[in-house]
Symmetry: C2
Subunit: 210 residues, 2 copies
């Protein structure tokens, strides 16, 4: 398999964790987002959205969107499972993952921040925007799992919720968010970061890290 990604892309980071948890190897192909390499015609032919990650399976089929990729990995390589079995529990885990992947990350990604700059907002307001999106979203995430025993977001093994949380906390810190306001999220992060599958997926451990 080949993973088209970027060391600092939090959506690529989610997929790296999933591959590690499943014990799968993928060659990493880096697309430098700040240089716009995700808009190269060769990559657009693979993924018309011009976004990382994209995963190519061994037959060359291209999968896009991190959560769709992760559910595919979970369906084709069921052990260890990244979703609970019970439908209601699955829905709770997916809702948490989507609270990150729909309601935080896209509002503070590189493309949106670039657009804010184009509209003339000063750098301070652009960073403030990213921090706001993270604070609002993480506060909601904290409430979503307040009554979950843990130590992970949901139960005693990692799920797709943790795969989304850990990269998002990495982003939040980059934007100067005080994450100590989210103790339950930090507890889940600590449980995750005790696993090699998570630490090996960290941005600064990737071949294209700067």
């Amino acid at each position: 398999m080949k993973l088209h990604g970027y060391f600092r892309s939090s959506a690529s980071y989610r997929v790296r964790i999933a591959l590690n948890l499943k014990g799968l190897r993928a060659d990493q192909l880096s697309h430098h987002l700040r240089k716009g390499e995700q808009r190269d015609p060769a990559f657009l032919a693979l993924n018309p959205q011009g976004l990382v990650p994209a995963l190519q399976d061994d037959k060359g089929a291209v999968l896009t969107q991190s959560l769709a990729i992760i559910e595919w990995l979970d369906e084709t390589h069921p052990e260890p499972p990244l979703l609970p079995k019970d439908p209601l529990h699955r829905a709770k885990v997916r809702a948490f993952a989507q609270a990150v992947a729909c309601d935080i990350h896209p509002v503070q990604n590189l493309k949106v921040l670039a657009r804010l700059r184009e509209l003339g907002l000063p750098e301070e307001q652009v960073t403030g925007w990213a921090a706001w999106a993270n604070r609002e979203g993480l506060a909601a995430c904290e409430a979503l799992i307040a009554n979950e025993p843990g130590p992970f977001c949901f139960g005693d093994t990692p799920t797709i919720a943790d795969l989304c949380l850990v990269p998002q906390l990495f982003n939040a810190r980059r934007f100067g968010v005080d994450v100590s306001a989210y103790p339950r999220l930090l507890r889940a992060e600590a449980a995750a970061q005790a696993m090699k599958a998570f630490t090996d997926a960290a941005p600064d451990r990737q071949p294209d890290a700067e």
Copy 2:
């Protein structure tokens, strides 16, 4: 079941279509987004994210995030299926749905547009922002299904891709986007709008429509 929604919320619209396709009835509880009713303490106790839709099942359990709700409906009421059986096909359908639900909708929702106004952007730029998010995203969606035979996004029955597409095209038109640039998307929309499950879910057919 109870569906907490709002007639013009495109995420609520997705769930309404799913319920109709499954032949399920839910009492609709409206939360007026422009009046901020989604921030009422009673609703925040149900969904700490303060977002619609939220679905309460017959035992009172609360589900949030439209795609998580729709996958739950599909798992608990399998007929007619809203996802194909083959894992790779499922991944393609989910990726399309997420291209809408992650990369278009959250970038142009009410909360983000309100924030742009708070930062001092004039109304013209705020609407321009929403139109930009729709144009960029829909162009990518058009490319994602360019080679799919149809008439729906994927094949001859509706999937979660169509459940996301139809409400997003409704939004795009509201923001003045020229949707004739996306003929493949319009073909899928036409197939969907020939079904009562889709037309009955339209915003102007809801009890809280203005």
